[in-house]
């Protein structure tokens, strides 16, 4: 009896693992971007190697790219010089090695973990890698997807394989269902809060149960995206009708007879009932509330309605609170907010923008709040504009930008200022992540939108009933 993970692993062993050597694992899809690839391409060039399977490789640009329209389409120079150089480098590397690139003005460009699923290249049962830790996102499709370093990017480019030791398996069972105003983001934050930022180290997480099955694909991607924040190697959700319906319309998903064959293969993937996991943990989805981080890693998280914990003899905890300018034992509700960011590979999809817009419609953001809405891809941007979501954001006083990672990682000049509080739909609240001295509070799009309207941390359920 095998789990979903075991089935995928076994189908990709070029050489199985032994006591002396890791498995040689075949990679079905290699996604690349401008930050972690230049040194990998250089390694190939230095050794006179070609990319083995350009047809299984797809590159985009997202981390360093400008989001201001005039710099993307208007001919204005990219203001961050080293970003411009890195973008140019990816263009020359892809041209030289024959790798398809969604370049800066390409209509399908977007954040790497958004475009893969959108195009339909992310599919159940595939092994998917990228030089980026949030590659775990693609696990939402029942793909084995994990982040790799630049050296491993070179390994995959040259051989389409990786050396891997089999990780352990960890089932996260979520019963019940998410209540109104509670999002998939709140669910994954609650899970990380429960198992800790190293709770999943060495494991592939599989999310199961009624609350998971009820999630849309976008919501499943939000959950799997943050598996890495629990220290996990990857996160998986078994494919089902929701998955197949999503894929049926995607441009690069199989069609016709190929679709029928693929579907049959996918339907054989879910784990056998009774298959064992190395660890299991259960949560009740019905008990989950809107969540927000208060500290300097995603495990320092609490319900929006709660109080910051008290840890008297914990010097590291005290240091984190000092950085955040917050006090133990106090509520986080009503903490004043300077910046709100809606975007990232965690929550930059159309349904996330729709959720934020549903609260912002007819409202204006509070005085003193700067809000940035960055769609996850250019197709999402166009779809949002076709629905008039851009007008809702602009009329509310927010900035509507071209797609990219933007303020999640702050590499492109979109930054939070020193000491500023930012409610962000992204995935990391480490010190200085969004800008030196920035104070990041991670939350769902609903919580972020509600907080923008009030100018302070707000439980979105208060605005849902008004």
């Amino acid at each position: 009896m095998r789990t979903l993970f075991q089935k995928i692993w076994e189908r990709h062993e070029v050489v199985p693992e032994t006591a002396d050597a890791p498995a040689v694992l075949y990679i079905d899809l290699h996604l690349a971007h401008e930050v972690t690839s230049p040194q990998a391409f250089s390694m190939l060039r230095e050794q006179g190697l070609k990319v083995r399977r350009p047809d299984l490789t797809l590159a985009t640009m997202d981390h360093s790219t400008p989001t201001r329209t005039e710099q993307v389409f208007g001919g204005a120079p990219i203001t961050v010089e080293s970003a411009a150089a890195q973008i140019a480098k990816l263009e020359t590397n892809c041209a030289e090695f024959g790798v398809e690139l969604l370049a800066l003005r390409n209509a399908e460009r977007g954040i790497v973990h958004i475009i893969g699923p959108e195009l339909g290249v992310t599919q159940p049962g595939k092994t998917v890698v990228c030089g980026d830790s949030h590659t775990s996102t693609h696990g939402a499709f029942g793909a084995l997807a994990f982040g790799i370093g630049t050296t491993e990017v070179a390994h995959v480019l040259a051989t389409q394989c990786l050396l891997q030791r089999k990780p352990k398996t960890f089932a996260i069972n979520v019963g019940g269902h998410l209540r109104a105003g509670v999002s998939a983001k709140d669910l994954i934050l609650a899970i990380i809060g429960k198992i800790g930022v190293a709770g999943g180290t060495g494991c592939v997480l599989e999310y199961r149960g009624s609350a998971i099955e009820a999630l849309s694909m976008d919501e499943r991607m939000t959950v799997c995206n943050m598996s890495i924040e629990a220290g996990a190697r990857a996160g998986l959700i078994a494919p089902d009708e929701t998955t197949y319906r999503y894929l049926a319309d995607r441009p690069r998903a199989p069609k016709g007879a190929a679709w029928e064959r693929a579907l049959a293969a996918w339907q054989s993937l879910p784990g056998d009932p009774g298959a064992r996991f190395d660890r299991e943990v259960s949560l009740d989805g019905t008990e989950i509330e809107p969540m927000i981080t208060y500290g300097t890693h995603p495990g320092m998280v609490m319900p929006v309605s709660g109080s910051i914990p008290v840890r008297p003899d914990d010097a590291v905890f005290a240091k984190a609170l000092a950085y955040m300018g917050l006090e133990a034992g106090t509520p986080i509700r009503d903490q004043a907010v300077n910046v709100v960011f809606i975007g990232s590979c965690t929550n930059g999809r159309l349904s996330d923008l729709q959720a934020a817009a549903s609260l912002l419609r007819g409202h204006h953001i509070a005085r003193g709040v700067r809000m940035l809405v960055v769609p996850g891809s250019q197709p999402i941007k166009r779809a949002a504009e076709a629905e008039g979501l851009d007008r809702i954001f602009i009329d509310a006083g927010a900035e509507w930008r071209e797609s990219g990672c933007s303020m999640c990682i702050g590499m492109n000049g979109d930054n939070v200022g020193k000491g500023e509080y930012s409610v962000s739909t992204s995935n990391r609240n480490f010190e200085g992540r969004q800008g030196q001295g920035a104070r990041t509070l991670l939350a769902s799009p609903l919580t972020a939108a509600a907080s923008a309207i009030r100018g302070r941390v707000t439980d979105p359920r208060e605005l849902l009933h008004s």
Binding site: Q39, S133, T151, A158, L163, A198, V316, M411, F430
Partner: protein, 191 residues
């Protein structure tokens, strides 16, 4: 890659848990297209004041830390991003090993690919090391041993293949390329 057998050094200590990759090398330094010279930016936001002057109280800025090749850190070192710039920065600064009770997966893999040794010890050993910065230690890769002062010696785990590659200077890309025929056979089978 140069083979590694022994590392002998005094320790530099960062007594913090969950030291993440954004602290090790902030994102603004990832716009480089090479892997050299990142040692200057190691722990940049903890190390330097706004005017670029070194913060006197940061452990790695103290005179005792100069020349240390072994970093001791609280649990879950290297959590966060897959940026290989993190081990590159540590190596460029001069570190050749990191000791903790837990080291994050992706960081660990990246470290091993670059000859930065992740050494996992138990809590009592880490507690002792955190309390004794500047201790003279020896890491013996041949015997998987960490030798502390006063003749104390502890074993540390290390995945066998990585250990073999480090001891013998074996390049993993070369190893994978040597499997090319098996890879082709797999591709044929799965067309």
């Amino acid at each position: 890659m140069q083979p590694i057998r022994h590392i002998r050094s005094r320790t530099a200590v960062l007594p913090y848990t969950n030291i993440d990759t954004d602290q090790i090398i902030p994102a603004r330094f990832l716009r480089t297209t090479t892997r050299e010279g990142l040692g200057k930016q190691l722990f940049a936001d903890w190390r330097y004041n706004a005017d670029g002057s070194p913060k006197a109280e940061f452990p790695l800025n103290k005179p005792q830390a100069a020349g240390c090749q072994v970093l001791v850190a609280g649990r879950n070192f290297g959590c966060g991003s897959s940026r290989e710039h993190a081990p590159w920065a540590l190596l460029d600064f001069g570190f050749r090993a990191v000791i903790s009770t837990e080291i994050a997966d992706i960081f660990c893999n990246n470290a091993l690919k670059n000859g930065l040794l992740p050494v996992i010890v138990d809590e009592p050993t880490l507690a002792w090391l955190l309390e004794h910065p500047g201790a003279a230690v020896e890491i013996d890769l041949e015997h998987n041993e960490l030798k502390l002062p006063d003749g104390v010696s502890v074993k540390f785990p290390l995945e066998g293949f990585s250990r073999y590659c480090l001891l013998n200077g074996v390049d993993e890309l070369g190893y994978l390329l040597s499997r090319s025929e098996l890879i082709s056979a797999f591709e044929q089978q799965h067309r």
